[in-house]
């Protein structure tokens, strides 16, 4: 045992005044009694019966000296060296992903992980610093390079597991930042595995504390509703990640009503699929796994026993082609798209009151533009962007494209030739998809919440319509211009993913109801509203509000786990970090376990014992303790 602050031991010199106080003769209070005869008999009796009673005062002195000794030792912070997993500059990555909710270790894997993290913090040596990173779908540093054990333990205690997929790449980036340039840093992963195949390397030493023992888990691994020949089709998958065959009941609720329930037997490692035809007008679906009666199926992770889906049926987009002379390339293409109803009108004809989903202009433009999506070919000067005459690019000039843009997926524009185009500048709200000689050919963007695509050339002045890229490009653009819902996100939304809500023009506010009925509101910017609080699994409702029409319901979206990495709760024996294999770590480092809380508790106990010894059995109010020692001698009577 050693001391962290041995200087405090010098306080033991305080024993001297205590002893001196005891050596000074006790000043007694004078009190008259009718006779001392009985008192003398009593004192004679006591000395005859229990001589050790005379030592009582000395016992008090001993107790007080012991109390002082304990307090001095506690202040000097004694510690014991204990074997620990890591010491020095430690970065702890605490896995808080959905799989850590598994209950194969009681009460849960995450609580077990917190216990291990607390142990690491407790046994932190004096010069060690610890950084705590909570690895969930949005990893965060919950304690930064701290040696304060209380702060660290408070941070660990306040950590909560998520229901999302751990973002290890981001966590490793945070860990790399925390380790920084420290030479011998150690990263401790407290996890049940579930790292991606390829994870970036970490500087310094990497140690792995595996959590969890079992793998039995059934999961709803997919749920979706798609249009089918006889109506919307519900597709559900149940995967058994365990090592034994498992029976389960898959219950399917549509719009909150029980639609179907069936018992499934899933072989280990296999997936059972269920396809059902639902009714027209179905909106929400929920799949729930529950154990059949009388069958003991172990399923350690309840978070993935539910799946959610929302049906967004394809909508027919009404498109108005505004052109005076017509354009065969455009009209034929629009007529060929499924789900598109094209109409044609002269440019300056009065617009029908029922708005269309998309307005297409070719070579001319209305004096007053409708507040809806616009596709503009060969624009004349207008209010949306600047045009500076025309230009004719050289024949040899190549078209450059924004290759990473999803709108250019499968589109090859390298062989496109342009005879002439208008000399437009890409406005601030737009992005150029293709350009030539530094001047934009195609650009798109969102202006005042309407989507706009501009071709700066007449299709008849180029060979684009003759190329295979043309229908693909137009398909991508039309799909982007006429989305089926105001909610745009990936097909599967995982916890932590962001969802963009693009309300109609004029709607200023968006409200989102989480599955637990919590209401989130968001202001709407030019690009719509971005919602990222998708921390719960379930179906979220979206409403929009405008000053004119008030609030209205806008749609649903579903947040699902649907992750093999999280549902496969089999704890990993080794982790692959960078190129290294990391096995479960042993306690081969020396930590310091501080003992002062125990010493302080002992001091408190001694204090209570001393108090008890002094007042043993006495119920009198005016017992003069230390007070009596210094009390002025009471005069005469």
């Amino acid at each position: 045992m050693s001391f962290l602050t041995p200087l405090f031991l010098s306080l033991s010199a305080l024993a001297a005044p205590i002893i001196i106080l005891y050596m000074l003769k006790l000043r007694r209070r004078e009190t008259e009694v009718s006779s001392v005869m009985l008192w003398r008999m009593v004192l004679r009796d006591r000395e005859a019966n229990a001589p050790w009673q005379r030592l009582r005062r000395n016992i008090l002195l001993l107790l007080q000296l012991l109390l002082l000794a304990l307090l001095v030792v506690a202040l000097a912070r004694p510690f014991l060296p204990v074997p620990v997993v890591a010491s020095g500059q430690i970065t702890v990555l605490l896995d808080a992903s959905a799989s850590m909710n598994a209950a194969d270790v009681q009460p849960s894997r995450f609580e077990e992980a917190k216990k291990i993290a607390r142990g690491l913090a407790n046994d932190l040596s004096d010069e060690s610093l610890m950084t705590l990173i909570l690895v969930s779908e949005q990893p965060g540093v919950i304690a930064s390079a701290s040696g304060d054990k209380r702060e660290l333990i408070a941070a660990i205690d306040s950590a909560k597991p998520s229901v999302g997929i751990a973002n290890w790449e981001a966590a490793f980036a945070l860990a790399a930042g925390a380790n920084g340039s420290v030479a011998n840093s150690t990263t401790v992963l407290i996890s049940d595995g579930g790292l991606p195949e390829k994870s970036p390397p970490l500087t310094g030493e990497v140690r792995y504390v595996p959590i969890g023992t079992e793998s039995a888990n059934l999961a709803v691994s997919a749920l979706s509703i798609r249009p089918g020949p006889g109506g919307p089709q519900v597709f559900a998958s149940v995967t058994n990640y365990g090592e034994a065959e498992a029976k389960t009941i898959l219950t399917l609720n549509l719009d909150g009503e029980l639609f179907n329930a069936q018992q499934l037997t899933v072989s280990p490692g296999k997936t059972s699929n269920v396809i059902l035809t639902a009714y027209e007008g179905v909106v929400r679906a929920e799949a729930v796994l529950s154990p059949p009666a009388g069958v003991t199926t172990t399923d350690y992770l309840p978070a993935d026993d539910r799946g959610f889906a929302v049906y967004n049926p394809p909508q027919s987009g009404r498109v108005l082609f505004l052109s005076n002379q017509g354009n065969r390339y455009i009209e034929q293409l629009l007529a060929a798209f499924p789900g598109i109803e094209p109409y044609r009108a002269p440019v300056d004809s009065p617009l029908p009151s029922d708005p269309f989903d998309l307005y297409v202009y070719d070579g001319a433009i209305s004096s007053e533009l409708p507040a809806k999506e616009l596709l503009i070919f060969n624009p004349p000067p207008n209010a949306l962007f600047n045009i500076d005459g025309e230009f004719a690019p050289a024949l040899a000039s190549a078209v450059t494209t924004a290759e990473d843009d999803p709108l250019l997926q499968f589109v090859d524009l390298s062989n496109v030739h342009i005879l002439k185009a208008v000399d437009a500048q890409t406005p601030a709200w737009a992005r150029a998809l293709a350009s030539i000689e530094g001047k934009p050919l195609i650009f798109y963007g969102t202006l005042e919440r309407r989507r706009i695509v501009v071709f700066t050339f007449d299709l008849r002045d180029s060979d684009l319509p003759l190329q295979i890229a043309y229908p693909i490009l137009m398909s991508n653009l039309i799909e982007w211009l006429t989305p089926s819902t105001v909610i745009s996100a990936d097909d599967i939304i995982h916890p932590g993913d962001s969802v963009t809500i693009r309300p109609a023009v004029g709607e200023q506010a968006v409200g989102i109801f989480a599955p637990d009925d919590q209401l989130f509101t968001a202001g709407v910017t030019n690009a719509g509203a971005l919602f990222a609080d998708t921390t719960q699994l379930g179906i979220y409702g979206v409403g929009t509000a405008s000053a004119q029409e008030g609030g209205k319901f806008a749609g649903f979206f579903a947040v699902n786990l649907f992750s093999a990495r999280e549902s496969n709760i089999q704890p990993a024996a080794t982790l692959t970090v960078g190129r290294a294999q990391v096995a479960a770590s042993v306690r081969d480092q020396v930590g310091q376990r501080e003992l002062w809380p125990f010493v302080a508790a002992a001091a408190l106990a001694i204090l209570l014992i001393e108090w008890w010894v002094y007042h043993r059995g006495s119920s009198l109010p005016a017992a003069p303790g230390w007070r009596g020692l210094f009390q002025r001698k009471k005069a005469g009577a």
């Binding site: 006790l26 000043r27 007694r28 209070r29 004078e30 009190t31 008259e32 009694v33 009718s34 006779s35 001392v36 005869m37 009985l38 008192w39 003398r40 008999m41 009593v42 004192l43 009796d45 006591r46 009673q53 009582r56 005062r57 002094y614 007042h615 043993r616 059995g617 006495s618 119920s619 009198l620 005016a622 017992a623 003069p624 009596g628 009577a637």
Partner: protein
């Protein structure tokens, strides 16, 4: 005045009881061991020369033709001695103690002892007994004495005498009682009212009284503060009578020990008295004095 009218009326109903009947000097209201002139028939005996012929039972002579003398019980008075300890230790708790002066006065041992003495004296006078009241104070000599007196007329004087007593000086109970015996009094019923705070002891004094032929009633008066002392901490106790100091550190166990010691002290005295055929009446002054006389002493057969 020590008593009010109703208390006196109650005391009038009482009479002192002596266990062994004693020879008296004057005709009183008590049975005597002496056979003599009264109306209570006791026995016959043979006539001898010189007997008063008036006392021959002629009816028996007529039947048996032998003269018998009729013997009658003699009724006579009883000598009652009330000895009050008037040392300084009896003046406890003092008026200054424990705030409430009235309650302190009520619990004052000396006042209590005076009340008891007055009650016993009144009972004795009312019953036509011969009463002597003595206060023993400092120096071991009985300095003040009332009586002997007979008859109800003495009550007022006795009360005045008791009212004028002051508790003073040191007690040597043994010496005082021995001196009392030497001063040659008629044997009778002797009540000793004291706190027994007498380091020299009380046994030889009681023995001296008993050897003179007295029937002894020891009324042991203690204040509640002496049975359960309200003391704690490091104290220097000063004896109010002798002025002796005693250092003591009072804590819970010591207080318990003290209480046990007081009890065992009383038990010792009681055992001593029982062995010698003396009455022992332990009294704490928080009990009403008339309850002692009207109930407790009656229960013990000292009064009837």
């Amino acid at each position: 005045m020590l008593f009010d009218e109703s208390t006196l009326r109650k005391l009038d109903q009482l009479a002192l009881v002596a266990g062994r009947v004693r020879a008296g000097q004057m005709k009183g209201e008590r049975r005597s061991t002496k056979r003599g002139m009264s109306i209570e028939f006791a026995d016959y005996r043979d006539y001898v020369r010189g007997d008063d012929l008036r006392r021959v039972d002629w009816n028996v002579y007529a039947r048996l033709e032998r003269p018998f003398i009729k013997l009658f019980e003699e009724e006579e008075d009883l000598a009652v001695h009330v000895i009050v300890d008037a040392s300084r230790s009896m003046n406890w708790p003092p008026d200054s103690m424990s705030g409430d002066a009235d309650s302190a006065k009520q619990r004052n041992k000396f006042q209590y002892a005076v009340h008891l003495a007055a009650a016993l004296g009144h009972i004795a006078l009312a019953a036509g007994d011969r009463l002597t009241v003595t206060a023993i104070t400092g120096g071991g000599l009985p300095t003040t004495r009332f009586g002997p007196t007979r008859g109800r007329g003495g009550t007022a004087r006795m009360l005045k005498f008791l009212g004028d007593l002051k508790p003073e000086g040191l007690t040597d109970l043994d010496g005082a009682l021995r001196n009392y015996v030497i001063a040659s009094h008629r044997a009778g019923l002797a009540f000793v009212i004291t706190d027994l705070f007498s380091p020299a002891g009380y046994q030889s004094g009681l023995s001296a009284l008993q050897s003179k032929g007295h029937e002894v009633g020891l009324i042991h008066v203690l204040a509640p503060e002496e049975v359960d002392p309200p003391l704690a901490g490091d104290l220097q106790l000063l004896d109010v009578e002798t002025g002796d100091p005693q250092d003591v550190s009072v804590d819970g166990p010591l207080r318990d020990l003290y209480k046990r010691r007081v009890q065992s002290w009383r038990d010792e005295i009681e055992a001593h008295c029982l062995k010698r055929g003396a009455h022992y009446v332990p009294v704490t002054t928080d009990t009403k004095w008339d309850q002692i006389v009207l109930y407790q002493m009656r229960r013990m057969g000292i009064v009837k």
